[in-house]
C-alpha cells in the first residue's frame, strides 16, 4: 500500500502516513475553514490501511494549533484505527505530543484520551 504524504500549508498539517512502518504522523497546524475537504482523503487512506494494518501501528500527533472543525476529524481518525485492536496480533498506540509549557495542548490530549478507547500516551515534546 502506498504511503500518504501531504505537505504542510499555513492552514493544514503535514501528513506522513507510512504503510510499511505503521508510523502515522500528523504535524503542524490544522485550521482550515473547510476541514471536510482536507480530511476526506486522509480518512479514506485510513479505511484502506485498517484492512491490512502493520503488526504495530503508532499514530504520532504533533499539533501546534487546531480548530474545532478539525477536532471531529482527528477523533474520527482515532475511531477508525480502533478497529485494528480487534484484529489478532495487531497493536495500535496513540502518541500525543505537546510542547513544554503548552498546557492547553496537554489538556486537549486528555480530552481525546478520555473519549477514545485506545492506548494513549501524552508526551512532552522536548
Amino acid at each position: 500500500m502506498e504511503s500518504l504524504i501531504i505537505k504542510k500549508t499555513k492552514q493544514t498539517p503535514e501528513i506522513n502516513f507510512n504503510a510499511q512502518s505503521g508510523v502515522l504522523e500528523i504535524k503542524g497546524r490544522s485550521i482550515p475553514e473547510n476541514s471536510f475537504e482536507f480530511y476526506t482523503p486522509v480518512l479514506s487512506w485510513i479505511d484502506q490501511y485498517i484492512k491490512k494494518p502493520n503488526e504495530n501501528t503508532i499514530i504520532k500527533v504533533y499539533l501546534e494549533y487546531f480548530n474545532t472543525s478539525s477536532s471531529k476529524f482527528i477523533l474520527e481518525i482515532f475511531k477508525k484505527l480502533q478497529k485494528i485492536q480487534n484484529i489478532d496480533n495487531k497493536n495500535i498506540l496513540i502518541e500525543w505530543y505537546y510542547d513544554k509549557n503548552d498546557e492547553e495542548m496537554m489538556e486537549t490530549g486528555k480530552d481525546y484520551k478520555d473519549v477514545t478507547e485506545l492506548p494513549f500516551e501524552i508526551i512532552i515534546n522536548e
Partner: protein, 179 residues
C-alpha cells in the same frame, strides 16, 4: 479629511491591536491571524497567551466566515462584519459583530447562557460529550466553537443582540484573555 494623526492617536491610546470591517474571506482570515501573531510577537507576549488568543481568533473568524449572510438589509453588504482586538487593564479583548436574522437568535442566546452558567469542569465535560457524540457536518463545525472559546479564555462571554429592524439584529460578541 486629513485626520491621520488623530486617528493614529486614538488607536494608540486605546491600545488597538487590530481593527477590521468587511467581508471575512479565507484570505482575510489568514491575514488577520498573521497580523495578530506578528503584533503579539513584537510585544514579546508569552507563548501560552499568544496561543490562546490565536485559537480564539480562529474560532471567531471562522464563525463569521461560515455564518454571516448576505441580503439581510437592502443595499447593504450584510456579510460585512467587524473584528476588533485591543488591550485594556491586563486583558486582551476580542470583539466581533455581525448581522443575524432575529429568528436565529434564540438557539445562540440559549447556548451562550448555558456556556456562561457552567464551571470549567462542566465545560470540559460538555465539550468531550459533543466531541464524542455529534456527527461531522459538511461544514465541519461540530458546535464546539463557542465552548472551546470559553474554555480557552476562562472568562465569561459578553454578548448582545442589537435590534436593527423587525427581522435583523447585530450580534455583538466579546471575549477576554487575561495577560
Amino acid at each position: 479629511m486629513l485626520h491621520a494623526y488623530d486617528q493614529f492617536c486614538k488607536m494608540k491610546n486605546k491600545n488597538i491591536i487590530l481593527s477590521f470591517k468587511g467581508e471575512i474571506t479565507s484570505e482575510i482570515i489568514s491575514m488577520v491571524l498573521d497580523v495578530a501573531e506578528n503584533k503579539l510577537d513584537a510585544a514579546n507576549e508569552k507563548g501560552i497567551i499568544k496561543k490562546k488568543i490565536f485559537n480564539i481568533l480562529v474560532e471567531c473568524l471562522q464563525n463569521l466566515y461560515h455564518h454571516t449572510e448576505k441580503g439581510l438589509i437592502k443595499n447593504e453588504n450584510t456579510k460585512s462584519s467587524l473584528i476588533l482586538i485591543w488591550y485594556e487593564n491586563e486583558y486582551y479583548n476580542i470583539l466581533t459583530g455581525n448581522y443575524i436574522r432575529n429568528k436565529n437568535i434564540p438557539p445562540i442566546q440559549k447556548r451562550l447562557e448555558t456556556i456562561n452558567s457552567l464551571s470549567k469542569d462542566e465545560l470540559r465535560d460538555w465539550y468531550r460529550k459533543i466531541l464524542n457524540n455529534s456527527e461531522i457536518s459538511a461544514k465541519g463545525g461540530a458546535n464546539l466553537g463557542m465552548i472551546d472559546v470559553a474554555r480557552k479564555s476562562g472568562e465569561k462571554i459578553e454578548y448582545n443582540f442589537k435590534k436593527i429592524n423587525s427581522s435583523v439584529s447585530f450580534y455583538e460578541f466579546k471575549i477576554k484573555v487575561k495577560k
